[in-house]
Symmetry: C2
Amino acid sequence: MTRSLRELFRPSSIALVGATDKSGWSLSAFQNLRDHEFAGKVYLVNPRTEVVHGETAHRSLSGIGEPVDLAFVMVPTTAVLSVLREGAGLGIRNYVVLTAGFGETGPAGKRLEDEIVAFAVEHGLTVLGPNGNGYINAAGRTTPYGLPIPAPLLPGPVGVVLQSGALASSVLSFAQARNVGLSLLTSMGNEAMVSVTDVMSYLVDDPGTRVIALFLESVRHPAEFARVCLRAARAGKPVVALKIGTSALASHTAQAHTGALVGDDRVIDAAFRRFGVLRVHSLEDLIITAGLLASVGRIDGRRLGVVTPSGGASEIIADRAEQEGLELPAFAPDTVARLTGIVPGFATVQNPLDVTGYVVVDRTLLGRALEVVAEDPGIDAVLLLNDLPRVAPADPSVTLQIAGATAERIRRSRVPVVVVSNVLTDITEFGRHVQAQTGFPYVAGGIEHGMTAIGNVVRWSEAVRQVRDVAPAAVVEPPAAGPGEVWAEHRAAGLLAGHGIPVVPAELAAGEAEAVAAAERFGYPVVLKAAADGLGHKSDIGGVRLGLTGPDEVRAAHREVLAALRDRGHPDAATLVQPQRRGGVELLVGVVRDPAWGPAMAIGLGGVWVEALRDTALRLLPVTPDDVRAALAELRGYGLLTGARGAEPADLGRLSEVIARIGELAVELGPRLTALEVNPLLVTGSRVEALDALITWS
Amino acid sequence: MTRSLRELFRPSSIALVGATDKSGWSLSAFQNLRDHEFAGKVYLVNPRTEVVHGETAHRSLSGIGEPVDLAFVMVPTTAVLSVLREGAGLGIRNYVVLTAGFGETGPAGKRLEDEIVAFAVEHGLTVLGPNGNGYINAAGRTTPYGLPIPAPLLPGPVGVVLQSGALASSVLSFAQARNVGLSLLTSMGNEAMVSVTDVMSYLVDDPGTRVIALFLESVRHPAEFARVCLRAARAGKPVVALKIGTSALASHTAQAHTGALVGDDRVIDAAFRRFGVLRVHSLEDLIITAGLLASVGRIDGRRLGVVTPSGGASEIIADRAEQEGLELPAFAPDTVARLTGIVPGFATVQNPLDVTGYVVVDRTLLGRALEVVAEDPGIDAVLLLNDLPRVAPADPSVTLQIAGATAERIRRSRVPVVVVSNVLTDITEFGRHVQAQTGFPYVAGGIEHGMTAIGNVVRWSEAVRQVRDVAPAAVVEPPAAGPGEVWAEHRAAGLLAGHGIPVVPAELAAGEAEAVAAAERFGYPVVLKAAADGLGHKSDIGGVRLGLTGPDEVRAAHREVLAALRDRGHPDAATLVQPQRRGGVELLVGVVRDPAWGPAMAIGLGGVWVEALRDTALRLLPVTPDDVRAALAELRGYGLLTGARGAEPADLGRLSEVIARIGELAVELGPRLTALEVNPLLVTGSRVEALDALITWS
């Protein structure tokens, strides 16, 4: 597909089919090609009008009589296929279909769309759309695009793929306002043939693209998406995504608690994390972060040195740094000594550094301080707060000279220097001029979004080191189980134990005597539970009896639980007797199968925490013990595991191994496993034990 | 002070004292007055130079020989007082002191500053600063301000007060980029004499100011701040604040748990909430929210109708609305019917509404849809997604006509209409022209910040209805207690019970027999605790024994607890016996005295929740039961109180009354009360009982 896309995005001639003065789309496409200086030929095709947009039009594609590389199709819905037929006959291989009325309108439209795709596949055509606005190849000055493109169109390193037509204009305006150049922007439309992942794949291979920015409504091809993201990570090209909306997680997960906890959007988060995709939450952050990634590449550490001309801004930066998990370490003694020699006597030398308003008097102050801070051995990057000038002064030479000196210092810096402006205002024409003339680097727009962008770059730099290919798991023979079957605890626990997961000892008891005998073997107190396949939450029927301290209590509990089971149609059920554990911290480990992304694991603190707080971390499977450890550290109640208030700290290494092993087993059990829940998993120091388990099969 | 400030901010003549070509501040102040067309006279004063900034300078204030209303002082630190002396002699009453080197540099500077204030007070002078940049009275075109002011300076309804010099330029640039006009902007400096609250008070009375925007590093005068905020609320003028930094909460609160929970920044949150101040977290939100408040005033409800030309944008808006707690209710049937007649057949009529890219063909589409949605009876406001044009087309008349028609529809709307742009780019000169020509309203910049602003306006509209004057509490006679004394539970509980707060029954026991007798009266199981003044956490010394089921256990517990107390130097201590409660939900209610804001109450879920999760809500005292109820609803574990997973729901009315009563008592106990903690407060249905209490006195 990448070779086809190279053709699609680099035509030497374009025919606008269905061109008419009456259509804003037609006019925009025509003007875009003219105003942004498309080097090839443009033909207008209209069967009924001789002159369109002031040019002579052709009656049909056939009437052009010269080779056409790309047809930009704006004809009525029902006429699109015949345009493709005509074009295919003429050897035209590439099509952008702006026309709407296809799959997005319902089954009838979908049939038309399918016909088009079938025809295209059969004849080796490439079709972008339908129902998209086209694309903008900024580097190639090729703009078959049906909405106005604001001038100037800035070519550059960011490739943009949008599952939205209307937002493209906003992205273009905003990128221009940030002086962020684009390599390619595509408005995908219905993705009938060319998909988001196809274009991403093209951009991974495109030497002109350093960062891929996505606006996504849905991920239509999860497996392909995963593959191309891993390829991007290996190529060192960040993928930044604004993913909106929520789709329903299949309701078959309702049986286990976990189902309620795994919001679909959190699965997306988990998937993006796994594949190294940086998720942003606004259009502004999409472009500002992509621009910064294209400019500085990686930032390998969280320690930031901050140089500003403002105390107020320094404090905003300090607040935001904390929110982004960035550190502002104290400067090294040598740095402090050198800065003391530079800043005015009334300034305080600290990180963040405020060189003070004295910059008004000495305009070199900020640059000299930057040079010193950039050499501090204890930082991984410098944040330089420095607005670009908005309006050209009468004599711009001093401004250019100062900017040039700063740019030179930034180029020479050992660590990345991120320039951030105070507020998010447009980079003006003069600002762009200063950047072009002096090599002054990218300016992240405003402290608010700039700090988000720095946090994002740091997170991506960490994530991309951890992205890994995941070998498909060897599926073990799934145990015999009927469809939709829910396994009783002892069967589930047996399966876990058979695969190396520690479970609490337990004995099945058919009668009171057996129950008492088991209890005596374990020693009191014991737990007695209902044991019957097909039961979900045992506690809902009073089927969990805790803290039984003697034979009489065991006998009574056994009787009552069996009676409750009989009432629910389990005449031959038994009970399960276990020693009662005390102390420790309860966790929940649940696996559900997401229809798009496969098995996902929720890890949380058990009991009331899960119920009331939804304090869980979610990961796609498989997970390594290190992944689990990071997930545990995300929990709000993490302190309970590390010994808050004198509790025994959990052996996190052992705990993470056990949880990772549960995930491994869930993967090995293959797609028939609908849900697996260990709740609670009890950890007491280095003892980790599953106290209860539930498995559901499809 | 307000009368003095009216003089300070409206001078007819200004002397720039210490004017020199060598100073950027001097040049800026001079150019600002000239370029922004100050109508009065400007005098330059320099003892050693005849011509400054191309104008004839005066040797001294005395040398001017004409009346001067305001002296803008830029002389060296040690010369400032003599300028004031000279000015006072000449009858000059108003001073802006730009000069730094005063209180901000240390004790020596502070002494100089104090001298200036003393002299000013003695001679009836008004001094803004020192160490500020001056002010900008945009409406009055009076700009004694020491940094460049970007043109055009837009007058308008937002008054800005900044505890930062350098950020003023950013605020000005950003306000201009948003087409938000300012009434007054002041850069406060050291607030030696004129304080933030003084200027706020002036702005409350200023008819040209509709919204007050603050950048705060610290609230220097909490009581005054509270008073002026309440006055602003009564006047219907919103106060929006970006408050940064954290200051240390006095460590004397360490005794009670609550101390660790009451972060200083959360006290600020609680104070702002109490006084109706809207807190924002970026400079962008400060201006965007202030602009929207100035434009739409109140929005009395959370139900939003959304009209856009873009599906992608609609989905971003839906996501953001949920985050802001806004609702997008389904349209009424009549609205749906009317919209179906307007939008293209392939559009889906729903809220948020995407009228589709067909707006390219029919530019009236968005406005007509807006008119219908605005009449829907089920919404409180409309969000119209509509970018202002950036560049003037060849013939701007159509653009102006469309904008004018939309503006007219917005004026006629029953509910407020908030216009939001897709992304945060500058409003260009042409955009401003369109707004000026057509009355097109304020445009909140970008979906991201626009949704924050709408959420803010809704929250402010709710908060301002609840802002109330708080009558000073009648202080009850504080019980006799030595300084720093920590009361034993039974004394604290006695005090609570004596003031109408339900506490669990308890009996003091000096000996084993008494303890057993008490236990028998209550019935087993019982709790036995250490009872000795000066003890903090009893459990740290094993001083809390739960679930004692018989006389032997009680005797043993009594012996052991007394022994532990003796070991800690409490030879004459006793134990406290209480019935053991089961079930219910434990809460923590703690009061600490914040040095700035007075008594504040933390309400949280007790036990491990407080320890590990810091799940508390904080309120300044006093609180009403309604305040408490809102605070409870903020807790992450709120579901535990409302009957999550089949638990008995708490009687929230009764619970809120008891908690409010605890707050009332804490206030009545007066400033000697350092901390009061009820932990746990047990709620089981409608039974609410303090199970333990701790009081610390200063």
